[in-house]
């Protein structure tokens, strides 16, 4: 038998040699020299001595013989491993083409363990408890890695091969914040393991993972070091100062600073400008603004939503704005894992706008067309102090609580003078009115909310409860003067009144919602909410008639109402989340009961409405980047109190609103479709969306225009209102040119029903146009973008089918910037609007607005930037807007910011240092 095997072995060896003649063979055999058990399948590996690189491996045969080949002669490490035997590790040297290392005697583990136990007992110097070192107590140099720190810790040694011993034992596991850390990757060590990034070093005996899982201690321990990192323990400040002065009295100044120390953040900013810089931009508001008004949430479907309340201003390019704003922010975090957070803000804002507006509106009536003109000058000033606070407390890993409180006090002043009049197309005057309005109001409000959320260990189950309350108070004092001339009636009248207004409201709401997984992929959501709203609105008008005394109460135009609204809403939603298809349907049912009390005659009106909000949505996910969805949303809307019974007003005697107590709810059905397909690797994306909605019993308007040109409006229910839209977008990249191209188009159709002088009017509006955009982007040198967007508009009405309003417009824009040598940068922004003239007399409505700047950065860190910029260089920014609506066509011309040149200096400063004695951890270094 033995002979047969030897023969076989020799044969195999021969075959092997013939296959690869260039290699050097190492052969030998492994034997159990004590119990003579078989050593079949014993693994034999050969490594380089200098770098432990695996060169070859094999398995021993039945007899324990093995044969390996390496590609070069020299010294190697041999590892022989078998689960029953202790590992055998030795150095071997090749001699000639075939090296026979002879028989390796394996030692049973049983024997070995007895020996090890003995040596172990001697080695143990510490038991059980964790030894912890505070890293900062041991001085290291700024850029030392963690091994320099470990060397300094008493009881920890590092040998020349980098092996770490703690309390005499080899450290087998190194962890960072509880995660295993493999220090084999030098880049990782440099990136994460700066000594200065370490807060604490903990040395302990870790139980085996099995023991940790079962809770049963199997006695197996692994010497472990855990490095607890610092929480980016930075200290310092950064900020920005910018000052700019320009021609024609334009100015823009900003200063902001953020100082941080550990988790505390204190920021302050101030901005004053008359160039439409009305607050912090998105980037700056992240750095210097408060967190008290911003929220970030992850929804159940995994989408992240973030929103910021009360930011930005509604300045719409009309008028000349001036802004002064300043704010202070404080934020801090406490407790373990930042369980308690607090943010507080104070903001002051004052803005004023001087506006001039010249509006021409052409109305289409069944038998006539007439033109309404209005010229107005207005001044508005708003001033407010706001404070906001928010705090979040994580009670435990599943429960958190959030409190928000904000308050505001302010004053608003508005003054306007306008001349309004109507003429027929021939230019004969129908009526005219001179109106002067002055108003000063004081506003106060307080808003508070508390939210409690609880998750459960069962995935998908969650509960949340919230309560909120809001109090507002507004008092106003104003004066109204109008002189009206009704030429057709040959009548004039004058109103000269002082007006006092009082409005206060208190609302209270609460909401409960609960989600339960019915099956693995099926979730049920239920919610209930109740809201109470108490509101008092009073207007007192006093006639200024010298003969009767200065302040005579005018009963007709005074009112004092109390509204109470109680809304109860209950809803439910069922969600099916399958891998390829998400489907959900459900709805809300809400009961709203109104009570309106007239404090003048103590009469009471009650309304009660049940509103229904059904919804359904289906989404097919073809791939991660490609999906199609179809949705339906239905909603009822109850008429507002103002539509049912408006408060009598005489601010604008040419437009009067009357109520309709017979109004019914309207029901809108919304359908939407969306498909997108994104090819990431080829930079190609396609997005298509369509929506269609129609309204049953739509609340629309009936208008009656009398021969004096006075219009009365009343809300009525109509059928047949609908709208639809289509949107298409295709983007791709032309790779060799680094050019991104977007092609798209949109179309919108709108049908609106109304009544005009007792006749039914159907107005159809259609707008469509293609769009082409392209941009070139080379990140350091040159950025260029261009877009062109022609648009066609067509409006028809059923009462005057002969009058069709249609026109083209064309928008083009170009943006470019280039980095020049010597730290110069050049940039421009061009917007070019071309509008088709409506008729031969129509004036030039085209705008060509070009802005350009040149800037240069100074200092090594480019912290100082000087910039010379021109806004609307060709002084072409005419304030103009045009809109088509239902049965009128409106054009408006207004004042706005025109050409100016500005020179500005911006200095960005920063000072950042770590907490003493070592610097902060640096994630960016690699």
């Amino acid at each position: 038998m033995k002979l047969k095997h030897l023969l076989l072995f020799a044969l195999l060896s021969l075959m092997y040699f013939s296959a690869s003649a260039q290699s050097y063979t190492i052969k030998g055999s492994v034997k159990d020299t004590v119990a003579y058990t078989t050593t079949l399948y014993t693994s034999v590996s050969v490594l380089n001595v200098k770098d432990s690189v695996l060169k070859a491996f094999t398995r021993a045969d039945e007899e324990g013989n093995f044969l390996l080949s390496v590609d070069s002669p020299g010294t190697y490490i041999i590892i022989v491993a078998h689960p029953l035997f202790a590992n055998y590790i030795d150095q071997i040297a090749t001699s000639g083409n075939t090296t026979d290392i002879g028989t390796i005697g394996l030692v049973s583990k049983l024997q070995l363990i007895q020996e090890v136990v003995v040596s172990d007992r001697r080695a143990i110097t510490i038991k059980g408890d964790t030894t912890e070192y505070a890293a900062d107590s041991f001085k290291v140099r700024e850029f030392d890695n963690v091994d320099a720190l470990l060397k300094r810790l008493p009881g920890i040694e590092i040998d020349k091969d980098g092996n770490i011993k703690a309390h005499g034992q080899k450290v087998q596991k190194m962890m960072v914040d509880g995660d295993e850390f493999f220090a084999d990757d030098p880049a990782m060590v440099a990136k994460m393991l700066r000594a200065s990034a370490v807060d604490k070093v903990q040395v302990f005996d870790k139980k085996s993972e099995q023991a940790e899982f079962t809770g049963i201690d199997d006695g197996e321990k692994i010497k472990t070091i855990n490095l607890q990192l610092k929480d980016n323990a930075k200290k310092g400040y950064f900020g920005k100062i910018a000052a700019g002065g320009g021609t024609d009295g334009f100015w823009e100044n900003q200063a902001m600073i953020n100082s941080f120390k550990k988790k505390r953040k204190i920021a302050a900013y101030g901005i004053m400008s008359n160039t439409n810089t009305t607050g912090l931009d998105w980037d700056d508001s992240n750095k210097y603004g408060g967190d008290a008004n911003s929220t970030i949430e992850m929804r159940d479907d995994g989408s992240m939503v973030s929103y910021r309340e009360g930011s930005g201003s509604d300045w719409n390019d009309q008028g000349l704005p001036k802004t002064w704003t300043a704010g202070v922010h404080y934020g801090n975090k406490w407790l373990e894992k930042d369980a308690l957070k607090f943010n507080g803000d104070y903001t002051f804002i004052k803005n004023t706008t001087e506006a001039y507006n010249n509006m021409r509106t052409q109305y289409t009536l069944p038998d006539t067309q007439y033109v309404n003109t209005s010229v107005s000058n207005s001044f508005e000033s708003n001033e407010a102090h706001k404070i906001g606070m928010s705090s979040e407390y994580k009670i435990d890993s599943l429960t958190d609580m959030r409190v928000r409180v904000s308050g505001r006090t302010g004053q608003a002043i508005s003054k306007s003078i306008s001349d309004v009049g109507s003429t027929n197309l021939a230019g004969d005057a129908i009526n005219s009115s001179h109106q002067q309005n002055d108003n000063v109001s004081q506003n106060k409000s307080i808003d508070a909310s508390l939210t409690l959320r609880r998750k459960f260990t069962k995935v998908g189950r969650s509960f949340s409860a919230s309560i909120n309350t809001k109090w507002t108070d507004r008092e106003s004092d104003g004066h109204l003067f109008t002189a009206n001339n009704f030429y057709a009636l040959g009548r004039t009248d004058t109103v000269d009144q002082r007006k006092e207004g009082k409005n206060n409201s208190l609302t209270f709401g609460s909401k409960l919602s609960y989600t339960e997984p019915l099956a693995k992929k099926i979730f049920l959501e239920v919610n209930y909410s109740v809201d109470v709203n108490n509101n008092q609105t009073a207007t007192y008008s006093y006639d200024q008639i010298p003969e009767l005394g200065r302040d005579t109460l005018n009963q007709l135009f005074s009112s004092d109402y109390i509204f109470n609204v109680l809304t109860n809403s209950i809803g439910s939603n069922l969600r099916f989340n399958y891998e390829k298809v998400n489907f959900s349907f459900g709805g809300n049912l809400a009961n709203a009961s109104f009570r309106q009390t007239n404090n003048f005659d103590n009469s009471t009106l009650r309304y009660n409405y049940i509103n229904f909000f059904p919804r359904a949505n289906i989404r097919y996910i073809r791939t991660k980047q490609s999906s199609v969805s179809l949705g339906y949303n239905g909603r009822t809307r109850q008429p507002t109190i103002n539509e049912l019974q408006p408060i009598r007003q005489n601010n604008d005697p040419l437009n009067v609103m009357i109520g309709n107590p017979d109004l019914k709810q309207e029901f809108t059905h919304d359908f939407n479709f969306n498909a997108n397909d994104y090819k990431v690797l080829t930079s190609r994306w396609l997005n298509m969306s369509a929506n269609y909605s129609f309204t049953q019993n739509a609340i629309s308007q009936t208008q009656n225009v009398d021969e004096a040109g006075r219009r009365t409006y009343q809300s009525i229910n109509v059928d047949g209102n609908m709208r639809g839209g289509l949107w298409l977008h295709y983007g791709f990249k032309i790779n060799p040119l680094k050019l991104n191209v977007n092609l798209g188009g949109s179309a919108n159709y709108n049908r609106n029903n109304s009544m005009i002088n007792g006749l039914k009017n159907i107005s159809n509006n259609l707008a469509y146009g293609p769009s082409v955009g392209m941009y070139f982007y080379s990140d350091t040198l040159l950025n260029l973008s261009y877009s062109i967007n022609p648009n066609y508009n067509r409006n028809t009405t059923s009462i005057r089918p002969d009058v069709v309003t249609d026109y083209w417009s064309l928008n083009q824009s170009f943006n470019g910037s280039i980095n020049l040598p010597l730290r110069f940068e050049l940039g421009t922004e061009i917007e070019w609007f071309i509008r088709q003239k409506m008729d031969a007399q129509d004036q030039n409505n085209n705008v060509f607005r070009m802005n350009a700047y040149v800037s240069r950065a100074f200092f090594k860190d480019r912290s100082l930037v000087a910039k010379a910029a021109g806004y609307d260089i060709f002084n072409q920014n005419i304030g103009f807007s045009r809109s088509v609506n239902d049965n009128y066509f409106m054009e408006s011309r207004y004042n706005n910011i025109r050409r100016y040149f500005m020179f500005s200096l911006t200095w960005n400063f920063t000072k950042s240092g770590a907490m003493a004695p070592a610097p902060a951890m640096d994630f960016s270094a690699e």
Partner: protein, 250 residues
């Protein structure tokens, strides 16, 4: 005849010892990615200065855990994605490309067929075994009941991969495309991707290789061609692109 009887006795005696070694079975792997650390890396860590990102990180779970099963015999192995742990994941922060690879290794022809979904494209990477330069280390640890020796190698020029292999499984395979060690890889760590693969259980069951469902659909490429296909694009995406490239190379 005597010889035959002797050898039968000999073989039957050695069975308990032979059971220390196995050539077929089923390995259950758990893959864990420290999401917060990898996000921080991919976002080039703007840290505290970007409060928006900091707030997002706070809302995310620390780990993303997925499960894989590898069935193997001495001829072939079949590594397939099993399931994800049910955690609330941000939509976009969820699974990136090449995170549900299906790898079929043929140990006799030393070839590998891996199905990798990278964004919109399903790639079928067919290639011979990559020649890893494994460095064998001293450290031995127990994974799923098997003593495993540590070995390290690098992929993509500099990305270190740490593997723990056991001599007791006589198949030189491992999760993803890793192989070439004197035994089966039961533990794998790619520190720079903040990801580890650990076997949680090894079932010693026979494996019928004809049951392998070979992926048929997809763009057939070699690993070199795959890199050429996606490399140019991803290398212009900063650190997110780099780490995606690393994932695709596993």
């Amino acid at each position: 005849m005597k010889n035959i009887i002797a050898s039968i006795i000999f073989i039957s005696l050695s069975i308990p010892c032979l059971a220390q070694f196995t050539g077929n079975g089923k390995i259950y792997y758990e893959r864990q990615t420290n999401l917060k650390m990898s996000m921080k890396y991919e976002w080039e860590d703007e840290g505290d200065d970007n409060s928006w990102r900091a707030a997002m990180l706070e809302k995310m779970p620390k780990y993303q855990t997925s499960y894989f099963i590898m069935s193997f015999n001495e001829n072939k192995s079949d590594y397939v994605f099993d399931k994800d742990e049910e955690t609330k994941m941000p939509m976009w922060g969820g699974k990136g490309p090449a995170k549900e690879n299906h790898a079929i290794a043929d140990y006799s022809s030393k070839t590998l067929l891996v199905e990798k979904e990278i964004y919109e494209t399903k790639f079928l990477v067919a290639d011979s075994f990559k020649k890893y330069t494994w460095k064998i280390q001293d450290e031995v640890r127990e994974i799923a009941g098997y003593p495993c020796r540590k070995a390290t190698t690098t992929v993509c020029d500099s990305v270190v991969v740490v593997a723990f292999y056991t001599d007791q499984i006589m198949v030189s395979g491992g999760p993803e495309s890793f192989n070439g060690l004197p035994g089966m890889i039961l533990g794998l760590a790619v520190p720079r991707l903040y990801t580890t693969w650990y076997a949680t259980k090894v079932d010693l069951v026979p494996f019928d290789e004809t049951q392998i469902k070979e992926p048929k659909k997809g763009k057939k490429v070699t690993s070199k061609e795959l890199e050429a296909n996606i490399g140019e694009k991803l290398s212009s995406w900063g650190k997110y692109g780099t780490s995606t490239l690393w994932w695709a190379a596993l």
